[in-house]
């Protein structure tokens, strides 16, 4: 870590309102954790006191003051996942990785953490590895998840993987189903929404399959374009309540029938998502 690289991150985010959090997020993205020295530089450069910055850094669970492993395993222990056996999944990971919760394996490959509810309760117990969601995880699945992570999660073949599941998406406002059985993507009914971007208005269909990034649209959506997405039934904009963790564009929020919310980034090409059930990335 060099003080200059921290200064650059601070400069890059000067115009953002929730400044400190954004700065810390960027530092964490760059180093994988928040080195002590970096917080001191942030304090110096922003004029905010170290106590406050340290308070923020220890308040949010996303931040870590210790170096983390290459892969982050988060086991959901929210209420729903808890009753569905989250704690035994946590123990299974402790055994499989031979490390305690909150710690990193000796080979620096994995960090094991727990989270409280990822908004996909109906599909619990949920385990997230590097932003890839595994649903209905059983103790037997645990070693498989570890093995897959080491093989490379992006290589997972979505059509053969059992953890791939189609979901049914509904509008959060009018509760109409957004599923379109007449238009298949990845062999499953697609999710139909209305999009608006650059003064163009038309349909967009997303894959309803977990892990798939396939979409089809009336228009060619250029990379990095931010689109607005509406319910085709009630025409409400499907707006999320938080900015994209990756690029800060607005998130699009949709409800999974049976419980849970999917939030995806509205920017084409961005991998930001809160639940990777559909992909419009």
């Amino acid at each position: 870590m060099s003080a200059d690289s921290i200064r650059k991150i601070i400069d890059d985010t000067r115009d953002q309102p929730a400044n400190i959090i954004v700065v810390l997020e960027d530092i964490q993205a760059k180093f994988g954790y928040l080195p002590e020295e970096s917080l001191r530089v942030v304090a110096e450069e922003t004029g905010q006191s170290l106590v406050d910055i340290y308070g923020v850094a220890t308040f949010y669970k996303t931040f870590s003051l210790k170096p983390r492993g290459q892969h982050r395993v988060s086991v959901c222990l929210g209420t729903a996942c808890h009753v569905r056996g989250g704690p035994s999944i946590e123990k299974a990971f402790q055994r499989a990785l031979n490390c305690k919760t909150g710690e990193t394996t000796d080979d620096k490959k994995f960090t094991l953490e727990t989270v409280a509810c990822l908004g996909a309760c109906a599909l619990g117990p949920i385990v997230v590895v590097d932003q890839h969601y595994f649903s209905k995880v059983t103790i037997d699945d645990v070693r498989r998840v570890v093995r897959k992570t080491l093989e490379g999660l992006d290589k997972v073949d979505i059509t053969k993987d059992k953890s791939v599941f189609p979901v049914e998406i509904i509008c959060s406002r009018c509760a109409h189903s957004l599923m379109d059985p007449t238009f298949l993507i990845d062999d499953y009914p697609s999710v139909r929404v209305t999009i608006y971007f650059e003064r163009m208005h038309g349909w967009l269909r997303l894959s309803s399959v977990y892990g798939s990034y396939n979409i089809e649209s009336e228009y060619e959506i250029p990379m990095d374009a931010v689109v607005n997405i509406f319910c085709p039934h009630c025409h409400t904009e499907l707006k999320g309540n938080i900015p994209c963790p990756e690029c800060h564009a607005p998130m699009v929020s949709m409800v999974v029938r049976g419980g849970g919310v999917v939030q995806i980034c509205s920017r084409r090409g961005c991998k930001g998502h809160m639940l990777d059930v559909t992909g419009m990335n």
């Binding site: 910055i53 340290y54 308070g55 220890t58 308040f59």
Partner: protein
């Protein structure tokens, strides 16, 4: 100006005054723990609960943080308030039974036992020390860290703070630690005044803002 009623008596206070100020202006007693004049209210301990509103619309609020509102009807010792207050005292006792301050409050309100799992925390997270350090000592050496059951008070990284001016203000206001400095370990002593017999505050700092009592360091005769 705002006029409100406390236990049926009308009182007029400035805009921006808190319920506690209005209550004390009339001379009613409400116990407080995390409130201290000269420090901003924080509402951490909830000991100062009072009941506001009428009929079905009444609720409990912390009077040290709740702003006085026109026509508000405040009760400081209704049955509901008394029950809530006793419960809070029990919870405080369960957290830090060794605190003289908390014991005194419990004795005053006739709370002789508590029904929760007994713990012996050295901090009740009232935030007095943090506010003292920031608002009166202008140091901002200590603060809240973490959250939930991991919330704690201390310096960043638990390392010795460059901001701390060793004034002892944090110890002075703490209702739970009651940790009078005893100079057993030189590193951890607050000012070291008792050991070196010279007034360290005057040597190290231009402004003396020592809250330690009975730290005698600054009363020693100058050469």
């Amino acid at each position: 100006m705002i006029t409100l009623k406390i236990n049926g008596l009308p009182v007029t206070v400035d805009k921006g005054a808190t319920l506690l100020e209005a209550i004390r202006f009339l001379g009613f007693h409400v116990p407080t723990l995390c409130h201290m004049e000269g420090l901003s209210p924080m509402g951490a301990c909830r000991l100062c609960v009072v009941e506001i509103g009428n009929g079905n619309n009444n609720k409990l609020v912390s009077s040290c943080t709740y702003p006085a509102q026109e026509g508000l009807n405040v009760r400081t010792s209704s049955t509901r308030v008394m029950n809530a207050r006793k419960m809070i005292i029990e919870l405080l006792l369960a957290t830090a039974p060794q605190s003289k301050t908390i014991q005194d409050i419990a004795a005053k309100y006739d709370v002789r036992r508590q029904r929760f799992r007994q713990r012996y925390e050295s901090c009740i997270l009232c935030g007095l020390c943090v506010r003292m350090c920031e608002e009166q000592m202008m140091a901002k050496a200590i603060g809240f860290r973490g959250r939930g059951d991991r919330r704690s008070i201390g310096t960043p990284f638990d390392s010795k703070s460059e901001k701390c001016r060793l004034c002892g203000g944090c110890l002075y206001v703490c209702p739970a630690c009651e940790l009078r400095c005893t100079y057993t370990e030189p590193d951890k002593a607050v000012c070291g005044g008792c050991a070196n017999l010279s007034p360290p505050c005057l040597i190290n700092y231009d402004d003396v803002m020592c809250y330690m009592d009975p730290c005698v360091a600054c009363e020693l005769p100058k050469e």
